[in-house]
Amino acid sequence: MTETTFRQALNDALFEEMRRDDRVIILGEDVSGGAGGSSGERDASGGIFGVSKGLIFEFGEDRVIDTPISESAIIGAGAGAALAGLRPISEIMFADFVGVCMDQIYNQAAKFRYMFGGKASCPLVIRTAMGAGMNMGAQHSQTIYPILTGVPGLKIVVPSNAADAKGLLKTAIRDDDPVVFFEHKALYNRKAEVPEGEHLVPFGEAAMPREGDDCTVIAIGRMVVFAEKAIDGLSESGISCDLIDPRTLSPLDTETIFESLEHTGRLVIVDESPPRCSAASDIAGIVASEAFGSLRAPIKLVTAPHAPVPFARELERAYMPGPGDIAAAIEEVVRG
């Protein structure tokens, strides 16, 4: 095990997979950076968050492709290259920009296999940075994974720690379906133990970083970090929880959720997205229709409010669900 940042784990995964398979290419805005600049320095950014740093020097411009600011072309070119035999990683700098290229994601890449009767595959990975907490305002801070989770044909990955980030990205690159891979900006500098050597994390298998008896907590992405804090804080007051990190929202490991609920009978779901048609409400709906008999208390959702992400520090702090909100929700469902 090596202590590695989330950013470095992703960078390692990219290097490993690009070395392993020369069909893997990466394209996006400033994935290397510096092309055409007056300094002549290439890899001037290595991705706006440094995730693709260094790739250009090992793999060259045919495989590490700096694009104009053209999100539809970035996704479309990735999808078209995937149809033609490559395994592209298209980077959308901020998840919010998915709005610009939605057609290429949900009408094109997601539907090829089905529309063409199973005769096509589209092994495209869309990597994108998401999340609030850095005062970036309403158009650079959203967690838009719920919008894409409902699209048949897409797989949705939301890692919460460096080890999973690496293992899930490697799996995504090897997967034959289009995968949207969400990286929370506030996690990039967070360190965790990452297994040495080949490390792959399968899709559709949730992790359970905490185990307990009184309540099941499902948390997504960065919210896993906050949920761990909340659950650890409650241990002194005698409350223990299962904490489920789904890791992939599509496919979703409902089996682990249902098994945990049979034991605990109570459910809190934590999602950084606004509440309507969110991952939280989606999972709550599945539990209500398929595992209602396990519930001994109403399901409690901890989400952002139905509002855009605000700018001011004080407002943004209030917008994000925090450990305190999660602890209060757990206490409410456990104590009734």
């Binding site: 290419i25 394209l27 045919d62 495989r63 492709i65 694009t67 104009p68 053209s70 539809s72 072309a73 996704i75 479309g76 070119a77 990735g78 999808a79 078209g80 290259a81 995937a82 149809l83 033609a84 035999g85 490559l86 592209p88 057609d103 290429q104 009408n107 094109q108 090829f112 296999r113 089905y114 529309m115 063409f116 009767g117 199973g118 005769k119 096509a120 595959s121 048949p152 044909g153 797989k155 997967d175 034959d176 379906d177 559709g204 496919p251």
Partner: protein, 323 residues
């Protein structure tokens, strides 16, 4: 005199005629209620698809449009499999899951028709990254109508192709109408070719009713693309003999326009007149092709009508490669 030999000319005529009869027959089948959904017919534009695709092999790739039957046939897709697909049958080219607007055949380098106007050009650009990296000189062609030239996705794709110097050819088929709106209204620039030049690529404007005009201009673009000199564009001025979709009452077209175009701008007539005049093909040879094509279309319709629909078990298969 054309440089094309007799075999090439017969092949070109056969492909154009196959598209024409396929579409004219579909028009009848649709009128009789045999086919469900939206169908956009290619009749009138055959010289473009065939003039372009006659330069391509199965390893060259095309991205097509909602009006894609002509591109499919020109690229070599199986006509019977296509008819079955349009009929929504189990063994159609896409197992009945795609339909008229989503026919693809990867063995033939046909990356798919596309029901989103402007959806295909970004895909063609990406496919060109794949052919470029493979280094075997294969190229991609992006088909689009005049309507697509106003989509932002197309601007993005053209710019990216120029920036990366990709082996892509953007073919714009100007049939006079973007759905129900005239090109003279909807395209703000002088023409489409000049707009393409603005992106930094050479663009030719040709008579899309004339196979030889299209073929020659495409030839120059193909040489450029295969030799790594980057993208080009082709604006082909043509006409469609039917509406935007089947059932379109075409109230936006003057009375007699279609009849006049069928009389004076029919690419098949123009082709036949020239090859007979130049003595490269005889009227009898063309008539023999006509008969073979009609028999093929009859057979395709017969087989499609007799074929079973997809099993309901297929409803949720092929959403993913792995689950």
């Amino acid at each position: 005199m054309t440089n094309l030999d007799k075999e090439a000319l017969l092949g070109a005529y056969r492909r154009m005629k196959t598209i024409r009869e396929f579409e004219e027959r579909l028009h009848l089948e649709i009128q009789q209620g045999q086919i469900a959904g939206f169908t956009h017919l290619y009749s009138g534009q055959e010289a473009v698809a065939v003039g372009v695709c006659d330069h391509l092999s199965d390893d060259d790739l095309i991205a097509s449009t909602h009006r894609g039957h002509g591109h499919c046939i020109a690229k070599g897709c199986d006509v019977i499999g296509m008819m079955k697909e349009i009929y929504g049958r189990a063994d159609g080219l896409c197992n009945g899951k795609g339909g008229s607007m989503h026919i693809a055949d990867f063995d033939k380098g046909m990356l798919g028709a596309n029901a989103i106007v402007g959806g295909g050009p970004p895909l063609a650009t990406g496919a060109a990254i794949a052919t470029r990296n493979a280094g075997k000189g294969h190229i991609t062609v992006s088909f689009g109508g005049d309507g697509s030239c106003n989509q932002g996705t197309v601007f993005e794709a053209m710019n990216l192709a120029v920036v990366l110097k990709l082996p892509t050819i953007f073919v714009f088929e100007d049939n006079g109408y973007s759905e129900h709106t005239g090109v003279s209204y909807a395209v703000g620039s002088k023409d489409i070719a000049s707009r393409c030049r603005g992106f930094g690529m050479p663009a030719a404007k040709v008579n899309g009713d004339d196979y030889f005009d299209v073929y020659d201009a495409m030839g120059e673009a193909v040489v450029r693309a295969r030799s790594g000199q980057g993208p080009s564009a082709l604006e082909c001025t043509t006409t469609r003999f039917f509406g935007h979709f089947e059932g379109d009452p075409q109230r936006y077209r003057a009375k007699g326009e279609v009849e006049e175009h069928r009389e004076n701008r029919d690419c098949l007539k123009i082709f036949a007149a020239r090859v007979v005049r130049e003595g490269t093909l005889s009227a009898d040879e063309l008539a023999a092709v006509d008969a073979e094509v009609l028999a093929l279309i009859d057979r395709a319709v017969g087989e499609a009508q007799a074929a079973p629909p997809p099993s309901i078990d297929e409803l949720t298969t092929d959403v993913y490669s792995s689950y």
